[in-house]
């Protein structure tokens, strides 16, 4: 049971981190375009 809970919590954490990284990508791209040096 403990391992199952760990596995499910790991999956939830992974999705949360995936969204955070994607959000960071968007922020980084916006900032760089704002300060210059983008495409």
């Amino acid at each position: 049971m403990g391992v199952l809970v760990d596995a499910l919590l790991s999956y939830i954490t992974l999705f949360a981190v995936a969204v955070i990284i994607a959000l960071l990508v968007s922020v980084i791209r916006k900032v760089i375009r704002y300060v210059g040096g983008g495409e």
Binding site: V3, D6, Y11, V17, A22, I32, G38, E39
Partner: protein, 405 residues
Amino acid sequence: MSEVVSELVRFITTIIGILGLPPAEIAVRVFLAIAGAVIVYLGYKKYLEPLIMIPMGLGMIIANLAFIPGTGPGSGNPHVDYNFTDWSAIWYYWLQPFYTLMFSNGLIACLVFFGIGSLTDITFLMARPYVSFILAAFAELGTILTLPIAAAFFGFTPKQAASIALIGGADGPIVLFASAKLLDLPRELNLFVAINVVGYLYLSILYMFQEKLDELTIPKKLLATPMDIRGLPKISPKEKIVFSVVIAAVLSALFPTASPLILSFFLGVIVREARVNRYVRLLDEVVLDFSTFILALVLGTLITPQTLFNVLVLKVLALGIIALTLSSIGGSIGGIIAYYISRGRLNPLLGPAGVSCVPTTAKISHKVATKYNPRNYLITFAMGPNVAGVITTAILASIYMALFA
């Protein structure tokens, strides 16, 4: 007369060590040597990855036929002693420095990651970050579900189950790195060898079954979904470098146990984007090739009856295929959801491309997409979830190491 015969037998078995072993072990060794020869042949014919399979297969053949009685604690392997502790014997085992100083601490996996990073273009990952990372997370379903399956139904401890489950991430260096940390080496070396051999073998044959799995799990009419490359934004090298620095720092802070892999991968990416060509050539043409060659050779010489031939291998074989199949199905589920959420603008084959075997699964998605729509050019889009899959697998490896190591 009998004394002459016994002297002759002693003389021959002293020189040809394998003949002094019990008949059953000789049979197993010959079987493994033949299996090694088959692996070399499949590598030569390019059915399996030749970069891995040729050195691994030859290592297997030689390590099983060359037996020296009385060396090491029972291994008799003249190449590497998996139970090595006596440094005065370092002169004896020629591959020992690689095993002791590069395998057991995961260094070899980091060297491979330097090279992979220097070859990886993160443009598509950054162009579609949400799609890439969320689909990659879906494609970790096997890495997640195999953990409780291995623990509940196959009798593995959580550490062992976590090591095996990571095969579902389809990333050989991460499996090696994490299993070296999670397992109690050298006591559990048999499981370590089994997991890594099975992992690399399955990654080689992934090409054969992933295509069919994609067609089975995704409705045929969706496989032809066209995607327009003109919609992709351009990403400058500066954006890619800033992203790599920030993400490497954030992920290392959040998941410190995986930070060696994260550092290695993103250093390779940054060197590539900064166009430090001398380093790119070093990492790509020297470090990656050398470490892959040594990894395969050492792994091959470790495949002997002492390390591999037991019931564990059959369990790992079964769980490895379960893990990869579930990951692929998870990717397909994510791809189908993405198709409907995007109202048909995303091809569901992007999902299975999130199984992070770079770039194999992206190529397979592209191949299937063009089969159903010859004008489709999916590889550009598929590389996004594919590269994100490397990062999500590293994250899961770190979580497992933190939880169970």
